[in-house]
């Protein structure tokens, strides 16, 4: 199906483990984004990418790594998960003026 998908939808991990969240879009949009959503903070931009092999930091990039080897994929890696990274993570891509969001990944770090 066309659209933007995220996997896994739910993840429980332990402090110190590496976790990768996947994001895939079928529109060939140039711009892709990763946000985290926490109560009281709304959505905060972690990283974004203007095209394959071009990425840049957002508001809260510390502890996260991204890559974009292909236009359609934009994985987000937590190199060593911490409890403060417990959150809901949303991937998005931009087509024209419209930002399309994936369904989110709920991550719990114990």
């Amino acid at each position: 199906d066309a659209g933007i998908t995220q996997s896994p939808r739910y993840k429980i991990t332990e402090t110190g483990r590496q976790v990768t969240l996947m994001c895939h879009q079928t529109w060939s949009h140039s711009y892709m984004f990763w946000y985290r959503q926490d109560l009281g903070h709304g959505l905060r931009l972690i990283y974004y990418s203007a095209a394959a092999d071009i990425t840049d930091k957002g508001e809260v990039p510390d502890g996260y790594v991204v890559s974009r080897s292909k236009t359609e994929n934009f994985p987000l890696t937590l190199e060593s998960a911490t409890r403060s990274q417990t959150s809901v993570y949303f991937c998005a891509s931009t087509g024209g003026e419209t930002q399309y969001f994936g369904p989110g990944t709920r991550l719990l770090v114990l």
Binding site: G40, H41, G42, L43, F90, E97, Q99
Partner: protein, 110 residues
């Protein structure tokens, strides 16, 4: 500190009432967007306003962009239970980097 301040944070009203949600900033944005988010899903774009002073209507929803492009408002006329959700505003810098407000949680009681 949030770049965009949304108010109120919570709103619980009866069906048929009118309401206004505000999104304020000291920064200028190239455009401002309003989203609605349902529980367990990603935000969905409602409208984008680009020109200072612009007013857009979407059925019972009226969106306004401030003359200086620093603030916006969302007015809902005769709210219905189907309007219940989290409303988010997002300001864009250079049309591709988005800053979100913390959201307004609206509950419309039948």
């Amino acid at each position: 500190t949030q770049l965009l301040e949304q108010s109120p944070q919570f709103l619980s009203i009866q069906e048929g009432e009118n309401l206004t949600v505000y999104c304020n900033s000291s920064s200028v944005f190239s455009s401002l967007q309003w989203y609605r988010q349902e529980p367990g899903e990603g935000p969905v774009l409602l409208v984008t306003v680009v020109t200072g002073g612009e007013v857009k209507k979407l059925k019972r929803l009226t969106f306004q962009f401030g003359d200086a492009r620093k603030d916006s408002s969302l007015h809902i006329t005769a709210a219905q239970p189907g309007d219940t959700g989290l409303y988010l505003c997002a300001g864009a810098r250079n049309f591709n980097k988005f800053y979100f407000g913390s959201g307004t949680k609206l509950n419309v009681k039948p």
